[in-house]
């Protein structure tokens, strides 16, 4: 009994001293660090991997949420909402965001992640079928449509959909004249699938469209040009405003 009491009387102060000294040394170590010199990446790199992943997720989630709160235009707001919906690991939050985007903004290209999320999602009562997805997709000009096609094809790959089904999904591409060089990737895939599954009509038509798409500008070039024109307009506007003053 005496021994146990003695052991207890030793253990308690030892642990107390351990925790006090550890806390003190921790504060001393933190005080050595100049926060201005340390980048967030360096801090994250020093964390154990399992914790780093959770912390990175929380930082990113907070950043997107903050940006969403500050967003001024509807376009910006919708694209940040879609980004948050894609990024969040909270299924309820994801469902809420995507449901809102799908129901309230079905005519906006920014809602594409929501439509892709529900696309062929059998476990969801809100699943979107191929014709429904085509209906949404074909609302937009080719510039915006390209990314939606890419996202949908990525989703089909995740779902491990058979290649003939994938080919059928891509068929509306054959009815559109490509306006951008980037579309050649889809047509190349259609040529491959058409040849593999003995559909010469599809393969030949896609092959002809590859040639046509190669004559067009790439989306990146077009966007860059649009951005330059926008900047030039802005500069001209600022210049005329200064002259007016």
């Amino acid at each position: 009994m005496k021994r146990k009491t003695g052991l207890f009387l030793l253990i308690v102060p030892v642990f107390l001293l351990y925790f006090v000294s550890e806390a003190f040394l921790r504060c001393a170590a933190v005080a050595n660090i100049n926060p201005d010199k340390v980048k967030l990446d360096n801090i994250l790199n020093d964390l154990p991997e399992s914790i780093r992943d959770i912390v990175t997720y929380r930082i990113m989630h907070t950043d997107i949420t903050n940006a969403l709160a500050k967003a001024s235009t509807e376009e910006e707001k919708l694209s940040l909402m879609a980004q948050l919906g894609e990024y969040t690991r909270d299924l309820q939050e994801k469902e809420n965001i995507f449901r809102l985007l799908r129901s309230k903004y079905p005519n906006r290209p920014e809602s594409a992640p929501a439509f892709v999320y529900y696309f062929l999602r059998k476990e969801s009562p809100d699943q979107i079928s191929v014709p429904e997805f085509h209906k949404y997709l074909l609302k937009f000009p080719q510039l915006e449509r390209f990314n939606i096609w890419a996202m949908a094809l990525n989703r089909l790959t995740q779902l491990k959909i058979s290649e003939p089904e994938k080919m059928n999904f891509m068929l509306p591409l054959l009815d559109t004249k490509p306006e951008y060089r980037d579309y050649s990737i889809f047509y190349t895939e259609l040529v491959r699938l058409g040849t593999k599954y003995k559909q010469p009509k599809i393969a030949n038509r896609a092959d002809a469209l590859i040639d046509e798409s190669r004559l067009r500008d790439s989306i990146a070039e077009v966007l860059m040009e649009q951005e330059m024109q926008r900047q030039a307009r802005q500069t001209a506007r600022t210049g005329s405003a200064k002259k007016g003053k």
């Binding site: 001393a28 933190v30 959770i54």
Partner: protein
Amino acid sequence: MFAIALLTLKRMREPAFFIFLGIGLVLAFIFSGLDPIAQQLSAESIFAQVVDANRSKSPLLSAAFVMFVISAFFGGFLGAAEIPRDISSDLILILLSKPIRKLSYMLGKYLGMLVICLALYCSSLVIIFLSHWIQTGELYSMLLMLKQLYLVLAFLPFCGMIIMISCFTGELAAMVISFIYLVFSLSFSFLPIAVAMLPKGVAGYAGAAGFIIYYLFPNFIFYFQDFKMFGLVFFMLLIYSLSLSIIFLLIAVGRLETMDYSKNSDL
């Protein structure tokens, strides 16, 4: 207790010790020309700032840091096998049949291992200081030499940790588990500092869970941090080392008290 320590120190007469000592001294000579550790690291890294915060004028030498790691490795290698070997050879039964308490036996082993580690580290330091003197014609300042000796404190919990692990496992397993435990303790060492640097609330439950795991390991980063000589940090470092060593040794004693030695005997 001292008799057991002397028994452990007999390992210093074995060829293995001389081989390790020889390797250690050669490495100390090779590394003696390195710049202080803070200059070897990126100024933006957390470790560089913990190591060099301009609080003391005596930096931690890279050579001393490297030799600390090597001495700990060699010392751990020699010390981890001590208790498992005594158990497997039934020497422990003979020793404990004499008027020696299990606590004294364990403290003796601890002291013996500590002396082995210190012998390796201090002799390496002597070589580092001497080679600097030979190369530059100048001796390091007294304070700088003392600063390198602060790492001696890190051997207190380190030896306790090795002794504790060796009470639970066999010779080889003790070495392997000690190494794994050390790797984990180093990977969790930065956790409290990094969490403190993050925006409030970001770490959340992951930070809290990390802290629980963190407390299961000694934090060796504290021994490398920059602080004023003979200040409060030094005092706290001493308390930290002693309390942590006592915790490890108490666990080891608890294990020795409840162990059935006959089951682990090779005979």
